[in-house]
């Protein structure tokens, strides 16, 4: 599935100093839960309810984002499909998968598409903050996410 480039403004990614996290999940509860935790830790939060909206938001707001947190099982475009659509385009933007899925083959697929970390739901708030802190502190390197 391709995202029409004409529908969005593609920008540079992962600006230094950005403190905005995009949370992509079809559950309003999970989005609100994650947003509440991260706002409490000093981050700004954007939300998207499926992979398609997530991809649009990344293309339009990439320069503001320091991290994307993404579910897998979502309608319209799932999280793995979204990663594969965007693969290689935003090498400085770390992606954390937050999902009920635990299959090794799916973890490997996400890694190949550029994901940097994986948490299986349910999760503890302190673990999420630890993961976000680690991922947003990683040194920027274009080689961290493979090119298509």
């Amino acid at each position: 599935m391709s995202i029409p480039a004409s529908m969005s403004l593609k920008t540079e990614t992962g600006a230094r100093g950005a403190r905005t996290v995009l949370v992509i999940d079809d559950s309003e509860t999970i989005r609100a839960h994650v947003a509440s935790i991260l706002r409490g830790a000093g981050y700004e939060v954007l939300e998207a309810s499926d992979g398609l909206m997530g991809a649009f938001t990344i293309r339009e707001r990439a320069s503001d984002l320091c991290l994307v947190i993404c579910d897998i099982n979502m309608p319209r475009l799932d999280g793995l499909e979204m990663l594969e659509v965007l693969r290689g385009q935003y090498p400085k933007l770390p992606i954390l998968m937050l999902t009920t899925e635990s299959r090794v083959d799916k973890v490997e697929r996400a890694k190949k598409a550029g994901a940097k970390a994986w948490i299986i739901k349910p999760f503890k708030p302190e673990l999420l903050v630890e993961a976000v802190t680690k991922l947003t502190a990683l040194p920027e390197s274009p080689s961290r996410i493979p090119s298509p």
Binding site: S27, E28, T29, S36, S102, V107, I119, I120, P122, K124
Partner: protein
């Protein structure tokens, strides 16, 4: 489905749901009966469907607003439809069951519409049971519909691990 098969499904569903609600601060007890009876109160439900080569069906979680409101991780000042939380609970229970079923060589995907709607009319329909787990502050009904030829008692843990070793809440750096 025969009663002895239902006993295996029942254990899988019950143990996974109890573990999950424990994470959200609600202690549930399995009182050893499938029962359609729910206590009084205003109830909320959420459903998730699933489908795979050897299994398909749906899971509906139904509980009182009071119990779900107590379990929800979202701050009270943030208005969230409790039906969404009920659906997310169903999603996470299925996720936990899926992890255990993978060890039996059974896998399925989440579906956003009822997979049975796309089957030929000659296909066997799903069996349904309702499991009620009780806590001091209310009850949770798990309405489980499943069509499956999997015999959980026979398959055992015969399949090499297909899942990551970290359980729920574990952080995996890739």
């Amino acid at each position: 489905m025969e009663d002895d098969q239902w006993a295996n499904w029942r254990f899988l569903l019950s143990s996974t749901a109890i573990e999950l609600f424990e994470h959200y601060g609600v202690s549930l007890h399995d009182e050893a009966h499938w029962t359609p009876v729910l206590g009084e109160g205003e109830h909320v439900a959420g459903s998730v469907y699933f489908g795979g080569d050897r299994i398909q069906g749906g899971l509906t979680v139904c509980a009182t607003r009071e119990l779900l409101g107590r379990a929800t991780p979202v701050p009270p000042e943030v208005p969230i439809p409790l039906s969404d939380f009920a659906r997310e609970i169903a999603n996470q229970i299925l996720g936990g069951m899926k992890t255990k079923l993978i060890r039996h060589g059974v896998d399925f995907s989440y579906e956003f519409t009822d997979p049975a709607a796309h089957l030929p009319q000659t296909a066997p329909g799903g069996d349904a049971r309702t499991l009620v787990l009780r806590s001091s502050g209310g009850e949770v009904a798990l309405m489980f519909v499943v069509t499956s030829n999997v015999d959980l008692a026979r398959t055992g843990d015969t399949v090499p691990p297909q899942e990551v070793p970290q359980g729920p809440g574990g952080l995996i750096l890739l």
